[in-house]
């Protein structure tokens, strides 16, 4: 009898009859005398039965490959902290996060310090419009140089 514990993958393969006859026999013998591995086998067995029952309820059988993939995902070890951080800085995640932070800073500053800077236009527009409307007051005079007659390169 092999005294080494089989891996969970081997137990799953054992349950699905996918091992060589020699290995299948060795694990069968090991399970008979190992409570821990028997527990793993029972757990895997119940999962397999549950999936089969769900598939029956839907009147369809899950392909064996799907079950194996699900098991593989369940068995996959938990990623390390570094791996999680690395994943968080993938471009697909990092770019939207950076935009959100920038927007927060921008609008936060705006709320704290008043409105955003407006786009500026030549102040002479305001002065000339004021002068035009004010030209109806008595004793007012037009600007020395009328706005409509300024050179294009001088006007605004």
């Amino acid at each position: 009898m092999n005294q080494l514990h089989p891996t969970p993958e081997e137990i799953v393969d054992y349950l699905h009859g996918e091992l060589s006859p020699a290995r299948d026999a060795a694990i069968h013998a090991h399970l008979a005398g190992c409570a821990d591995c028997s527990e793993i086998r029972d757990s895997e067995l119940s999962l397999t039965e549950m999936l089969k029952a769900y598939a029956r309820a839907d009147e369809r059988e899950l392909p064996a490959g799907v079950v194996a993939t699900i098991r593989g995902a369940v068995r996959e070890k938990r990623p390390s902290l570094w791996e999680q951080l690395s994943a968080a800085f993938r471009p697909a995640v990092a770019v939207p996060v950076a935009i959100a932070i920038a927007a927060f800073i921008y609008f936060g500053f705006r709320l704290a310090h008043g409105p955003a800077a407006a786009s500026t236009i030549d102040a002479s527009y305001y002065v000339e419009s004021h002068a035009a409307l004010g030209s109806t007051t008595p004793l007012s005079e037009d600007e020395p140089i009328p706005g409509a007659l300024r050179d294009d390169d001088q006007a605004h």
Binding site: I121, Y125, Y126, S129, H130, G134, L139, D151
Partner: protein, 346 residues
């Protein structure tokens, strides 16, 4: 060379005129005489035709402008100006017919047509304007002299509330046409002068005011109707426009308009005390005047930061409450503009 009167000289003249009008050569001594002169001055252009040469200068803190043009005025309401200086205006002209103005650009063979709210020659306008000036200004005759060969009456218009001289005029004694006018800013400095010289009175042919042929006519920015009802303009603004809760003493709403400022729909409200004016521009679009040429300074307006700048005759104050963008433009100082702003966005 344009001769200017210093404010200190004006004050001295005012004192002399007030204390000894007879010695100054004024024949009229009754209290109503200055007001009668004012009424004559305001109505004179609607009665008197003349020709002459005008020198106009506007003095700014960061630059000045001047022009020289020949003027032909046919009473009551047609005026033609033909520019001889500055060089870029040489040959250009302006023709005013009532409330229509045509700016004739000779170099580009183009006529820009614009429309004003009303003409100064309009009888109702004259009455309203005279009443406004009488309510807010004290005309003071300061003497008589000769100006460019014509006998003139010198007079000041002193603001009743600030006691500051706002304008000095030399009025032709015979026709009551203003031959020289000097305006003073909030700090007392001379900010503009316009002189009519080589004046000749008499008929001016109507055909002098015809437009040249073969020019493209384009609409100016002021072809829409202006309104004298600020409330209606605010209602029609398309956004929650505001009006001042209070104005400097003597100021009253005069007119308003909805103007296009580089694509931004902007309400413009004009207030005046008869001589000085201030415009309030409001827009829901984030636009503001470029204040850099005015060397602006930051001012605090009810917890908000605004920018103030001045250029001699005209002062600007611009700020925002986060919803609307406001700009005040007028012949008022920073304190008065800030006081108005405080009543718009407390």
């Amino acid at each position: 060379m344009i001769k200017r009167i210093k404010p200190s000289a004006l004050a001295l003249a005012l004192a002399i005129g007030s204390l000894a009008p007879a010695a100054a050569g004024t024949a009229q001594t009754s209290a109503s005489a200055p007001f009668a002169l004012l009424a004559d001055v305001l109505s004179a252009p609607s009665k008197i035709s003349y020709t002459g040469v005008v020198e106009s200068v506007r003095i700014g803190s960061h630059g000045s402008e001047a022009s020289v043009y020949r003027i032909e005025h046919r009473a009551p309401e047609m005026t033609r100006k033909v520019f001889s200086a500055p060089p870029e205006l040489f040959g250009d002209s302006e023709i005013a017919r009532g409330n229509l103005k045509f700016s004739i650009d000779a170099r580009h063979h183009r006529i820009v047509e614009a429309k004003n709210a009303a003409t100064l020659e309009d009888r109702r306008s004259i009455g309203d304007n005279e009443a406004l000036i009488r309510a807010n200004y004290r005309p003071v005759r300061v003497g008589t002299e000769s100006f460019d060969g014509r006998p003139v009456v010198d007079a000041l218009l002193v603001n009743k509330y600030t006691n500051r001289t706002t304008m000095f005029v030399r009025v032709d004694r015979e026709t009551k046409i203003v031959l020289d006018k000097q305006e003073f800013g909030p700090k007392g400095a001379l900010v503009s002068e316009i002189r009519l010289e080589q004046v000749r009175y008499g008929p001016v042919p109507a055909n002098d005011f015809s437009l040249p042929k073969g020019y493209a006519v384009v609409g100016g920015p002021k072809l829409q109707e202006v309104s004298s009802d600020p409330d209606r303009l605010i209602h029609d603004a398309g956004f929650a426009a505001r009006k001042p809760g209070a104005l400097p003493e003597g100021f009253t709403p005069l007119s308003g308009d909805v103007v296009d400022m580089h694509g931004a729909r902007t309400v413009q409200l004009l207030y005046s005390d008869g001589l000085r004016t201030v415009s309030l521009f409001e827009s829901a679009t984030a636009v503001a005047p470029n204040m850099a040429p005015f060397h602006p300074q930051s001012v605090t307006l009810g917890g908000r930061t605004g920018q103030y700048g001045e250029d001699g005759s005209v002062d600007l104050l611009t700020w925002s409450d986060g919803k609307l963008y406001y700009t005040l433009v007028g012949e008022l100082g920073m304190t008065e503009l800030a006081n108005i702003a405080g009543t718009i966005t407390p």
